[in-house]
Subunit: 500 residues, 2 copies
């Protein structure tokens, strides 16, 4: 065991990430040229990321990458990419996001695929800027995929080692033994899924079924659906389009929250793997059950928005898929729903999709293990001494992993309540009106769990801009903490991380 | 291992408990005679408990008591004592509690030391009835003391086996090796503490410092402070008395939430045990820190109730002691406090005092282990392979116990949120006005964690009577579930409890 964390390694790797960031920044730059909009926002960002990246890259050496180096590298990279991602907003200097803290909020909300926004007047912004906002979410989705499938799955972070990996079953060839190969495979699948989404959405536009779904919007929404991220360049979000677009987006949100390794095997024809995946059944089941409950509540309340049955079904399913996959698109202002329907959505925020996807929140893998373990603990409490291992896909899970998952789930839930205190107190300090305790908890949960919209003023058609600057600045921090699975950041704050 | 649960044993033991219940029922009967109030309420209850008790007692045999028999017996006894405890309210036939569901609510809230009330007009009720309401809380406190120190501490219920027991340290004589001896010792200590509380309160009354603290009130409040229970025969609760009464009650609530085994050793002069108790330090620290935070918030908000510095200190400390010890007395209408101060009280509801006391909620023992375990998990996440046992009072805790504690804490927190859904949906169904999402969560938490008062209409000077009957009936169930540490009741619902 080395004596100290090799921070030079982490800084060096973060430098490589920053250099790569120049590539996607070219896309909005080209768009700006095409639309004859200012190119300075992107030129400055590209220059900064290349200079910083090259400078940091020099630190890289041949040392070994341990968990501590990985945690530091991941935290650093996410923070730096978000800060550089904010540069175009500041340089453009338009609207609320011209303010550095708002810009950092918007960029971090984008990169962490949260999708909470401080934008007020969408029409004031250039199309290239709005597309950068979409693209940074797509980058964030890709980043988390690479992070979880190739790094976290090898470490002990809240049971992440349990997620579906290409080597989970011994009878399957070890397709991709190396991190870089896995990353490449995931990138192909992610890009392919995005391309299909663009195709489907654009076809809807061309066919006249969704007349205003032009290529720009097709790309913009493909980016943020497969990334389960939720930004939209339209102020009305998905409600700006024909209802058929909502049906078209649901499968992409759903797939974005499905394990990419599982998807890879299914695409190769291995349907057994799908049938055997308890986590997939749990995930699908949670979506259907919660959507059914919401539908029942909305129907029982006499259909508050006065729409037809088809609309109610679509609204229930779309919003529940959107929340459970942690996308955060809205097709209805659910702040107008009954308190109970809103409360169901609040609870659904804690679920999340499958591990090994772009999803956020606690994730179905952990809930599945928590429920199985709790059932087992009930059994052993009446039959002391009985030994009953917990199985997932036929394999016994070791007890340390179960403890890690309990611990992670508890910490995530407690984390939501601690940050809620901050939102509530800071709102009270700033004399924020019309922002009750439930709204505070909702906004805290939605940002810490990276969902996006919350309730009250921070609802799907509201804006986080109403919150005090200090709250927004704190949210920048905990969106990052929540996105990279809490442990890597909190570990940095312990003395044992830096010593020993 | 036996094949089936020996339910005859459980029923038989519950029968003995019911027979004992006749003894405390004599006290309000005597009071009724003294005040020339109707005696029928107590005569009927005594008759029912003796008849049922004798009938059930016949089931008892010489079989062995295992965890399943203990769980069934405990659940049965608590439910039956609460139902019989409700009889006087129904027979008296006065006010809201004449309705059977309200009567069951009041009695269960009493027995579980919750202290949530559905009373509206206190002056309509006889003094004997109001004293029965106090006494049933004292009985509930005694019951839980006996349960946790002599039964749960021997089973694996959320790490209860970790609590201070008389045999925890090998170098201390095994004072009381048998359950009955422990129960007798605890009863003496509990009765002694109550007697001191009566003495102190009555002295305050006689001395003129609290003129309206007569013997009746001294007894009534001694009962519900050492039981950390919270009922008061006064509609204004503790605010009906001079402020000095609040200072006098704080130590008794605090001691009621302190481990009785620890108290026993300290009384025998073993001060080392106090100094070595990490849990005691944690408990004391949590009270002081939360009270300090509340005081800071109240002071920062410009002193909402317009009182002096001494009043603010007293109100902060009293309400925090009241909530953390899970007593639930109020000396101020904290629904008038700022949203943040209320939110702090809400979070404090999850703390609880020490294990092995009359306290409810999650308890400081579990939080202490959760925090230690989480710190350790952070360490092992950056140093995989490192082995670091968690120590409490110098002894390593085994990993299974840690997992049990994680699991219990998580289940308790999730339990609060699940019952909140019910309160919210049922309130919406019944068209309850002025009862928001925060009020619903608060009322659910306060009943499930057995605190008592909540927020909004169910605040310290409000009444749970405004809730729909169906909500109150459900609360009767989950006050019981929460009070006897969740696991014993949930275990009854599993098939493996009844089969195998
Ligand atoms: K999102
Ligand atoms: K209480």
């Amino acid at each position: 065991m080395r004596i100290r964390v090799d921070w030079r390694q982490s800084v060096g790797l973060a430098g490589s990430v920053l250099q790569y960031l120049a590539i996607p920044l070219v896309f909005p730059l080209v768009l700006a040229l095409y639309y004859r909009e200012p190119i300075a926002p992107f030129v400055v960002a590209i220059a900064v990321t290349l200079v910083l990246g090259t400078a940091f890259d020099r630190f890289e050496s041949d040392g070994e990458i341990g968990p501590r180096e990985a945690f530091l590298m991941v935290s650093l990279s996410w923070a730096l990419v978000a800060l550089i991602g904010a540069i175009p907003f500041v340089v453009a200097g338009v609207g609320t996001i011209a303010h550095p803290i708002n810009a950092a909020f918007e960029a971090m909300s984008g990169l962490t695929t949260t999708g909470a926004t401080v934008l007020e007047d969408f029409s004031a912004h250039d199309r290239s800027i709005l597309m950068w906002r979409q693209l940074i979410q797509w980058i964030g989705g890709l980043g988390i995929l690479v992070l979880v499938t190739s790094i976290l799955s090898q470490l002990s972070v809240g049971g992440a080692q349990l997620m579906e990996t290409e080597t989970q079953y011994d009878n399957v060839d070890k397709v991709t033994p190396h991190i870089q190969d896995t990353a490449r495979l995931i990138l192909k699948l992610y890009a392919g899924l995005t391309a299909v989404a663009i195709g489907v959405l654009y076809t809807l536009g061309l066919s006249g079924l969704a007349p205003n779904m032009d290529l720009y919007n097709a790309v913009a929404h493909a980016f943020t659906s497969v990334a389960t991220a939720g930004f939209s360049p339209e102020p009305l979000s998905i409600e700006a389009f024909a209802p058929v677009v909502q049906w078209a987006l649901m499968p992409f949100m759903f797939l974005g929250s499905t394990s990419f390794v599982l998807m890879y095997f299914v695409l190769r024809g291995d349907l057994n793997r799908l049938r055997e995946s308890e986590e997939f059944r749990f995930y699908l089941g949670s979506v259907l059950v919660v959507a059914g409950l919401v539908l029942a509540v909305l129907a029982a309340n006499g259909n508050p928005t006065g729409e037809g049955t088809h609309d109610l079904v679509r609204q229930s399913l779309f919003n529940v898929v959107s929340i459970i996959t942690t996308t955060g698109y809205a097709n209805a202002d659910f702040t107008q729903w009954s308190a109970f329907a809103q409360y169901l959505l609040f609870l659904a925020m804690f679920l999340g999709g499958m591990a090994g996807s772009t999803t956020c929140s606690i994730k179905s893998l952990r809930w599945l293990v928590v429920f199985k373990a709790f059932r087992r603990d009930l059994f052993t409490s009446v039959h002391p001494g009985a030994v009953r291992p917990i199985r997932l896909g036929g394999t016994a899970i070791d007890e340390e992993t179960i403890r890690d998952i309990y611990s992670y789930t508890l910490v995530a839930v407690l984390g939501v309540f601690l940050v809620s205190v901050f939102v509530a107190v800071d709102g009270a300090r700033a004399g924020l009106d019309g922002f009750g305790a439930f709204d505070a908890v909702g906004a805290a949960a939605s940002t810490f769990l990276n969902i996006g919209p919350a309730f009250g003023p921070a609802g799907p058609y509201g804006s986080y801009d109403v919150l005090p600057m200090s709250t927004k600045a704190a949210m920048v921090v905990w969106m990052l903490v929540g996105r990279i699975e809490i442990i890597p950041v909190i570990a940095l704050l312990t003395t044992s991380f830096w010593r020993s």
